[in-house]
Symmetry: C2
Subunit: 140 residues, 2 copies
Amino acid sequence: MTKKMRMTKQKRVILEVLKNTTSHPTADWVYEQAKKQIPDISLGTVYRNLNVLRDMGEIMELNYGSSQSRFDGNPKEHYHFTCESCSRVYDIDLPVQREMNELVEKKNGHRVDYHRLEFYGECKDCRKGTYSKDLEDNRV
Amino acid sequence: MTKKMRMTKQKRVILEVLKNTTSHPTADWVYEQAKKQIPDISLGTVYRNLNVLRDMGEIMELNYGSSQSRFDGNPKEHYHFTCESCSRVYDIDLPVQREMNELVEKKNGHRVDYHRLEFYGECKDCRKGTYSKDLEDNRV
DNA sequence: GTAATTGCAAATAATTTGCTGGGTG
DNA sequence: CACCCAGCAAATTATTTGCAATTAC
């Protein structure tokens, strides 16, 4: 039984703020905007509702699931796959498609220096049920 | 004058740890590994050196520049451009290439649910010197 | 009525920084 | 021997959480 969600004034305003901007605001900016309509709304409420709305699929969180930075000893451009089950990150050997940068430059007018491509899903170890914490801890 | 960098025992070990793994460790994991060789190394030193090594281009930081999450009112899959100068995030209208997911599935054996593609560079406003803080604050 | 949700404040978690002594070039 | 960098601990920043009061359904 997933528990039922109530549409509160706070939730409505937060969603409205997000739906009415083409920018990609931070929680804090949403909070500032929401305060214009509900002066005593609290930042905690904004965070809670952003998470609820994300889980419902109403909005997207960029950088979702990456509270910690990860480092890569290989500084050459390459792509990654992140397992949403065990959080491990794998290298992907697709060739880097630099043509896409020029395409975006032409279409949107920004100067594009590089891009980042990340795949998400369930890794082969987790699919097989082979995953073990030991394996993770001993990766070298 | 960029100041000169000294090769310390700590820096050498941290770099060595990263170069000798194909995983994409967190700062904390690097710290744990480095401690095996330098028991009294401090976590602060690990963070400092990871940043120095990243700035030198010796290693890559994944999720670089995103200490805060950003939210998108449009939950449909689409790509983004992030300006490294003003930090604004723009939508990119390239069609989503789902074929790449299958390619990775076939080649690497992971189940791929979706991917994320982000471009980086300098946005057209910053290139023109048009950027203003007001503009950012008033984005709606 | 009752369970979900709020505001507030305190708690976490990741990362950065100030200081002072030590080690590299 | 100058000055970059280490260790330590305290500070910052983003986000989450416990609790008692409030509100949607």
